[in-house]
């Protein structure tokens, strides 16, 4: 069965640095999402992306965040200047037109 993949599995960065989290959605999917899960807390929606533009974003997704689909296969989340509170598990998901979103295994981001 096709899977969503994410790299790296774990990223450690210093506060103030830029990070790019990468995702490869399932190839025929058209909708892409990022969620995050701060340790011990619930999974929170960050942003959805369709037709090369953001469809919806949450309050968390401020100007420090951006998403891109640079080459038709990858879907990236960039955090421009990381803060300690950005430490979390970041999940990418993709879907066809259907309701079911397929989640990747996540990238654990640790900001020190």
């Amino acid at each position: 069965e096709p899977e969503v993949t994410q790299t790296p599995s774990h990223q450690v960065t210093q506060m103030g640095q830029e990070v790019i989290l990468r995702c490869v959605p399932i190839s025929n999917h058209l909708y892409f999402y990022w969620y995050r899960q701060i340790l011990g807390q619930k999974v929170e929606f960050l942003v959805s992306f369709y037709n090369n533009e953001i469809s919806e974003k949450s309050e968390i997704f401020d100007d420090q965040f951006s998403v891109e689909r640079p080459d038709g296969s990858n879907f990236t989340l960039k955090i421009r200047s990381t803060k300690l509170e950005d430490s979390a598990m970041y999940f990418c998901a993709s879907s066809e037109v259907s309701l079911k979103q397929y989640f990747g295994p996540g990238t654990r981001l640790t900001v020190t």
Binding site: Y33, V43, F45, G104
Partner: protein, 118 residues
């Protein structure tokens, strides 16, 4: 705004027994979808079961079934014949059909950590 509440942070069950995880939600919408996701220690989230709000019949997937009470806004998950592999974090999630953009988003509860004991 929609909210999802899971009031049981942790639960345990003996192998082969039955356990029920609770979930309540709040919405003013009449058309929506509810889900249970499982997040094992490997951390990849896996869809367990889905329920459409317009369907009165409770969804069932093998050992997993739901008790959907629309008026009470309750959506509990029953796991029968619990197995060690069921040990995981279970998230209840709500989804509204999108108005215009065609994208859906989940609203998750805080999760229930289930441990199946040998």
């Amino acid at each position: 705004a929609q909210t999802v509440t899971q009031s049981q942070p942790e639960m345990s069950v003996q192998e082969a027994e039955t356990v029920t995880l609770s979930c309540t939600y709040d919405t003013s919408e009449s058309n929506y979808y509810l889900f249970w996701y499982k997040q094992p220690p490997s951390r990849q989230m896996i869809l367990v079961i889905r329920q459409e709000a317009y369907k009165q019949q409770n969804a069932t997937e093998n050992r997993f079934s739901v008790n959907f009470q629309k008026a009470a806004k309750s959506f509990s998950l029953k796991i029968s014949d619990s197995q060690l592999g069921d040990t995981a974090m279970y998230f209840c999630a709500f989804m509204n059909p999108p108005l215009t953009s065609g994208t859906y988003k989940y609203i998750f509860g805080t999760g229930t950590r289930l441990k199946v004991l040998a």
